[in-house]
């Protein structure tokens, strides 16, 4: 494994040079926010950001994705028979992804790629992607990755970790895929000892100053029915307007709906992100709905992330601590406070 030092200009040029070999996604600034976009002509990456408003989950798991296509043309012998929709699985790279969002991919991987069923689209998109992380020099006030098993410079799941040292980037390959990516840049220089030391010092000083301290240590030992029947759910949900922003921005929310769409005689079966915040999510054909009330849906969201997932996989919560739901909730519902309520019940 190697560590390469790039001036910021070299790094930008190297990425441009690699865009023939990879579809590269980079953070760009749009208005007051950052978002991931494919690196194309005229696109200028901006690595001076805290985190993108919308997580990069859609690069692996699009908000709307064609599953199958079919014809309804009665004369066609293949009419009404579903065929796989063609997809692009050429190599791609997400450059500048934060460690929390990489942690989120590992969390949702358990859902999409399990011993019984593999979701072919998620798995193939994920396997064709290189993750080039960027350490967090300035974690947000709403971040709490260290409370859920991550950290501002957490390397697990990454192919390359990049340190922003002010005037240059230090890129450390962590996997063969990552080393191959760095080699292909044909730029930069091997990192010297002072640069390596600077990266080490940066990591240490950020980690020292970052102390979100959300406690979730008792969740696994709580009885599920005690938490489900806890007295605080109505109050937690009181201000919620069921807008679904939390589930939409959450990098670990994976629920989807399946719908058919037809234009003339050609149709697609499509899956779309869905949200447990919406009453339609569980409405049955008979008219029965197990979650008609707002507090039941809010409870489902937190119970799924902080209890059901914990019990099912025995390896932490379904939350990467990115803090997006805290930051963008229009009524200030805060998962850190709910976790504390549940943890202390």
């Amino acid at each position: 494994m190697k560590t390469t030092s790039f001036t910021k200009q070299e790094w930008d040029e190297a990425l441009q040079g690699l865009s023939d070999s990879y579809r590269i996604f980079v953070p760009i600034r749009e208005g007051d926010f950052h978002m991931f976009r494919p690196l194309e002509n005229g696109i200028k990456p901006d690595f001076d950001f805290q985190n993108t408003r919308i997580s990069p989950k859609s690069i692996i798991y699009p908000q709307s994705e064609r599953m199958f296509e079919y014809t309804l043309e009665p004369e066609d012998p293949e009419a009404n028979i579903l065929k796989e929709a063609p997809k692009d699985y050429s190599p791609r790279a997400i450059v500048g992804i934060r460690p929390c969002d990489v942690h989120a991919f590992r969390i949702v991987q358990r859902n999409f790629d399990n011993p019984e069923f593999r979701d072919p689209w998620w798995v193939k998109h994920f396997e064709s992607t290189i993750l080039v992380g960027l350490g967090c020099n300035r974690p947000c006030s709403t971040c709490f990755c260290t409370s859920v098993g991550g950290g501002p410079f957490h390397e697990e799941g990454l192919d390359i970790m990049v340190y922003d040292l002010g005037d240059r980037f230090l890129a450390k390959s962590l996997t063969e895929k990552g080393e191959d990516f760095l080699n292909k840049t044909k730029a930069g220089a091997p990192a010297d000892q002072p640069a390596l030391q600077a990266a080490e010092d940066l990591k240490e000083s950020v980690e020292k100053a970052f102390n979100p301290n959300v406690t979730m240590d008792h969740l696994h030992e709580k009885a599920v029915l005690d938490l489900f029947n806890a007295p605080f759910w109505e109050e937690v949900a009181f201000a919620c307007i069921n807008c679904g922003t939390c589930t939409y921005l959450c990098p670990t929310c994976w629920c989807f709906d399946i719908q058919d769409e037809v234009f003339a005689k050609q149709g697609d079966r499509i899956r779309n992100w869905d949200s447990c915040m919406f009453p339609l999510f569980t409405l049955e054909g008979s008219g029965h709905n197990p979650r008609t009330k707002k507090f039941q849906r809010v409870r489902q969201r937190f119970m799924h992330k902080l209890k059901y997932y914990v019990d099912k996989y025995q390896d932490g919560v379904q939350c990467s601590g990115c803090g997006r739901c805290v930051r963008y909730c229009p009524v200030n519902i805060d998962i850190r406070q709910v976790a504390a309520l549940m943890n202390e019940l």
Partner: protein, 279 residues
């Protein structure tokens, strides 16, 4: 990589209107591609997604038995977009079936035991599958007494009427058919709701497993009856319904606590359900 979302193409072979209100029809499907029938190897209690291009999918219990070869059968209530469209389809039409999905009744555990089957309304489909399966000459010796209580609102609302008559004649299965009410003077079976009829006709829980399917009210009213008969919660087996999409525990909507009804169910024992949030 196998695609678990891709349905097997099937052709509708036969459509039977089951009930007097014409809201329940049984569809017999044959697989279009040779080999698919073998891949669709199922056990009674499982379900499948019926897939109609341009409309969508619906999760429906498998009504045929694995001992019946050459076709699969589903009985579908007309309630929404897909089921209404399906009700207007005809023999020869092409659609899809995705599955088999979910778990099944505990067949290994039921061997050597008495089996009590309780069904109310149109939730008798996977119970039909189970009865046909158990009555097959190869399987019948594996089970002791088989007793069935099955009720519907009226005689015309009973499913599988010809088979009910046939089973009624047999001496290796005890049938207790009932209706909520009827003005048919020739009605020779029971009149009354399923729970009290069960209380009258089933006398013992000894060495027995009960499988109960029905609308929520029947499930609820059956609990005190089965408790009185001394069925422990581990030996009361239920099949649940939820809104479903993927059918393989991935899309996230049909959970009961950390269990997905589509993948970890739809069959649960009462003992399991007591540990899960009552949603």
């Amino acid at each position: 990589m196998e695609n678990p979302y891709l349905p097997y193409p099937v052709r509708i072979d036969e459509v039977i209107t089951e009930t007097e209100d014409k809201n329940l029809k049984t569809f017999k499907f044959v697989f279009i591609n040779p080999g698919d029938e073998e891949k669709f190897s199922y056990r009674p209690g499982q379900f499948a997604e019926l897939s109609i291009a341009g409309k969508g999918e619906i999760p429906i219990g498998i009504a045929s038995s694995p001992t019946e070869k050459g076709f699969v059968k589903f009985t579908v209530n007309k309630v929404g977009l897909v089921s209404t469209y399906l009700h207007n389809m005809r023999p020869g039409n092409v659609m899809g079936i995705r599955g088999p999905l979910g778990n099944w009744y505990p067949w290994e555990e039921m061997e050597g035991k008495n089996v009590v089957i309780v069904g109310g309304g149109f939730a008798f489909t996977t119970l039909r599958s189970s009865i046909v399966y158990m009555l097959h000459p190869e399987n019948r010796p594996k089970f002791k007494d088989i007793k069935v209580v099955y009720g519907a609102r009226t005689p015309g609302m009973l499913l599988y009427k010809d088979e009910l008559k046939e089973w009624e004649q047999r001496d290796d299965i005890e049938m207790h058919i009932t209706v909520d009410g009827t003005n048919d003077p020739d009605w020779k079976y029971n009149v009354g709701y399923v729970p009290p009829i069960t209380e009258q006709k089933i006398t013992s829980a000894e060495n027995a497993i009960a499988i109960v399917c029905g609308p929520p009210i029947v499930i609820k009213m059956m609990q005190p009856v089965l408790a009185k008969l001394n069925f422990p919660p581990e030996r009361i087996i239920l099949s649940l319904e939820k809104r479903m999409k993927c059918g393989i525990g991935i899309c996230g909507r049909c959970n009961l606590g950390d269990q997905y009804v589509c993948k970890d169910g739809p069959v649960f024992s009462m003992a399991q359900l007591k540990e899960l949030p009552p949603e």
